[in-house]
């Protein structure tokens, strides 16, 4: 399918459509379960009725579903999608299957600014944390691109310098942690691990525009991503403006990671693992990979948050811990599988 007025060619890949539908169904099931279970269980029928705006006989159901659980589940879905697409873009533009926003310092930059704010100004409202974290993440991304620039950017320098920046930001974060008092630190640490606890509609409305703009942007640039994957020389030969596409895609990736991290803290391994699962399911072409990664990430985070709520109830485990525990063995497996590359 190709239209003359729209610069994309949509080859409708039936396998991708099937995979995406299946993953979307999984994410939907996770969301419904998220709404139904908890300290105050609500039957599926009542959940459906509440969502449709019907009376269920128990007036507290509406409050629990619409104010507490639904926005939290939607935030989890959106954060997952944002981080996964961010990772897919980064892996594509660096041509490295192990690149992820958590490894090249974008998360660490966000964390540094947020923890500094929590420790230095403990009275500051949490409302200011997301924008601050957002600025930190973007600052690291810009610094990264500037430092990696030597006449032209190189995927390898981007990653290695990112690792250096990440280490530096982490050292400064520890300086903050050592100088703060323990009460505030717990708050900072929960934030550092990544959690969607107590996220409401406000957070969702702040996050959604970024995802709504940047994910379509990534899709529009899918062909550049495919060209970059062939190597800089080939991409130039194919008529791709390599530096421009790489710069824009890096910014889009950073913007998505920053939005996700600003909302939910540094949720590790989502940006690494979700694109891999997606690539295993639909293959490397970015047009199918990006939407598949998005639904994979959404399902991953919503199910991780559900698991964190249910496993040790009434104690809640931050979703970021669940993603770390799931991501770790998967990562080791990836290292093993890629050992000859």
């Amino acid at each position: 399918m190709r239209t003359s007025w729209f610069p994309v060619s949509l080859k409708v890949d039936l396998r991708a459509v099937a995979v995406i539908s299946a993953l979307a169904a999984l994410a939907f099931a996770g969301t419904v379960a998220h709404l139904a279970v908890g300290e105050y269980p609500i039957s599926l029928l009542d959940v459906a009725r509440t969502l449709l705006g019907l009376q269920t006989g128990d007036p507290s159901n509406a409050f629990i579903v619409e104010t507490l659980r639904l926005p939290r589940a939607l935030v989890a879905l959106t954060v997952g999608a944002a981080l996964a697409v961010s990772g897919a873009l980064l892996q594509g533009l660096t041509r490295n299957p192990l690149a992820a926003p958590d490894i090249i310092g974008i998360n660490a930059g966000a964390a540094l600014v947020a923890v500094t704010l929590i420790v230095a100004l403990p009275s500051v409202s949490s409302v200011y944390l997301p924008p601050a974290a957002f600025c930190g993440a973007l600052m690291v991304a810009l610094l990264l691109y500037l430092l990696a620039w030597r006449g032209h950017s190189s995927p390898m320098r981007l990653i290695l310098i990112g690792i250096g920046l990440s280490a530096m930001a982490q050292a400064l974060t520890w300086l903050m942690i050592v100088s703060g008092n323990v009460q505030e630190l717990s708050r900072a640490l929960v934030w550092l691990t990544g959690s969607v606890y107590a996220r409401g509609w406000d957070e969702l409305w702040a996050l959604l525009p970024w995802v709504a703009v940047l994910v379509p942007f990534a899709l529009l640039h899918a062909r550049h991503l495919n060209a970059l994957g062939l190597g800089d020389e080939v991409a130039t030969g194919l008529g791709s403006r390599v530096e421009l596409s790489r710069g824009l895609l890096l910014l889009a990736s950073a913007g998505l990671a920053a939005a996700g991290v600003a909302t939910a803290g540094t949720m590790v391994f989502v940006g690494l693992v979700a694109p891999h699962i997606a690539r295993g399911l639909v293959g490397p072409p970015a047009g199918a990979l990006i939407p598949t990664a998005a639904v994979t990430g959404a399902a991953l985070v919503v199910l991780s948050d559900l698991a964190g709520r249910v496993l040790f109830a009434p104690t809640e485990i931050p979703a970021g811990i669940v993603t770390a525990v799931l991501g770790a063995p998967y990562f080791l497996y990836l290292l093993y599988r890629n050992r000859n590359k």
């Binding site: 990440s166 280490a167 942690i177 323990v182 929960v190 550092l192 391994f269 990562f331 080791l332 000859n340």
Partner: protein
């Protein structure tokens, strides 16, 4: 640059003398006013005064521990760089420090460990286990992993291990309170007894490293060349791995995770000592010791009376250097 054997040989005693002066400086600078004469008197005619006590139980152990930890980390870094032919290799970057940290935090949380010597045992085990995993992953595949892949594998391991550490700290605020200073890396409040516990491992690691110096030099020319010269490369690598575990493990056990100390020194040393590890290793030990002693002095003085953790100071010095190396010294 002087690369004649005699100049390098003469440099060693000069370096030792400079290190001795650095140690003296480290003992002198601090919150309590102490003069050089006091230091000498505390050891020649110990009178039990407050100064004597501070010197003998706080300042001197601290300076010696900083020096030894620096020597171990620098030699470990030099071996890792030589073995992997990766200019960015270093115990901190490859996740070994993070593994030690996770083991200590786990030890406190699960077994209620509360003493520094208890931390040391767990740190040692954690560092060794992580080194084995990273090293094992690094030796998988044809001809080992490229510098790039080892670095990324290490960085990802670090992300993984530190997120698990954070997880434990969230669950247990008590652990957090107990451990946060150790976790930032520091040589404050360590006593000589703790050092004596790990000294055998440190010595063994340093001696093993020196014994392997010639093989590491050959291996630096490439695995094929080394095999061609009749070296059993697998054996060399395994022995060098043991040395790294002993050195990095005991350093972290005493001082906590100190990042980047092992990165800078071997590069500085190679600049004047050339490519022969029989010179690189002893000079790395000397320069690493000096670097950490002065970093510790800086940690105490820069924001005094507040103290910056030593690990933060070394990271702030080392990370820009790492970025410089990544920018200019890594061939694409």
């Amino acid at each position: 640059m002087p690369r004649s054997r005699y100049a390098l040989l003469a440099g060693l005693p000069v370096g030792l003398a400079l290190l001795a002066l650095s140690l003296l400086a480290s003992v002198r600078f601090g919150a309590a006013e102490i003069g050089t004469a006091d230091v000498i008197r505390a050891f020649t005619e110990y009178g039990g005064s407050q100064e004597d006590l501070i010197i003998r139980t706080i300042r001197v152990p601290r300076a010696i521990i900083a020096a030894l930890v620096g020597a171990c980390l620098a030699v470990a870094g030099a071996i890792m760089q030589g073995l992997t032919r990766n200019p960015l290799a270093e115990p901190g970057i490859l996740g070994i420090n993070a593994g030690a940290a996770l083991a200590v935090v786990g030890g406190i949380f699960i077994f209620g460990v509360s003493s520094l010597s208890g931390y040391a045992v767990f740190a040692f085990v954690g560092a060794a286990a992580t080194a084995a995993v990273v090293y094992g992953l690094g030796s998988l595949g044809r001809g080992g992993m490229s510098p790039m892949r080892v670095t990324i594998a290490g960085a990802a391991m670090m992300t993984l291990l530190s997120s698990l550490t954070t997880a434990v700290l969230i669950i247990s605020q008590q652990t957090l309170e107990q451990i946060r200073f150790w976790l930032a890396g520091s040589v404050a409040g360590r006593d000589l007894a703790l050092l004596l516990q790990v000294l055998p491992y440190m010595t063994a690691g340093l001696l093993l490293a020196l014994a392997l110096a010639r093989q590491i030099t050959t291996l630096g020319l490439g695995e094929d060349v080394a095999t061609g010269l009749g070296q059993r490369t697998a054996l060399t690598k395994a022995a060098a791995g043991v040395a790294v575990v002993l050195l990095a493990g005991s350093a972290v056990a005493v001082a906590g995770p100190i990042a980047f100390a092992g990165l800078v020194v071997p590069h500085l040393v190679r600049f004047f000592a050339g490519v022969d590890y029989r010179w690189i290793l002893p000079y790395s030990a000397l320069v690493g010791a000096g670097l950490l002693v002065w970093s510790d002095v800086a940690s105490r003085l820069v924001l005094s009376p507040q103290e910056i953790p030593l690990g933060v100071t070394t990271a702030l010095v080392g990370a820009p250097f790492f970025i410089y190396l990544a920018r200019f010294k890594v061939k694409r």
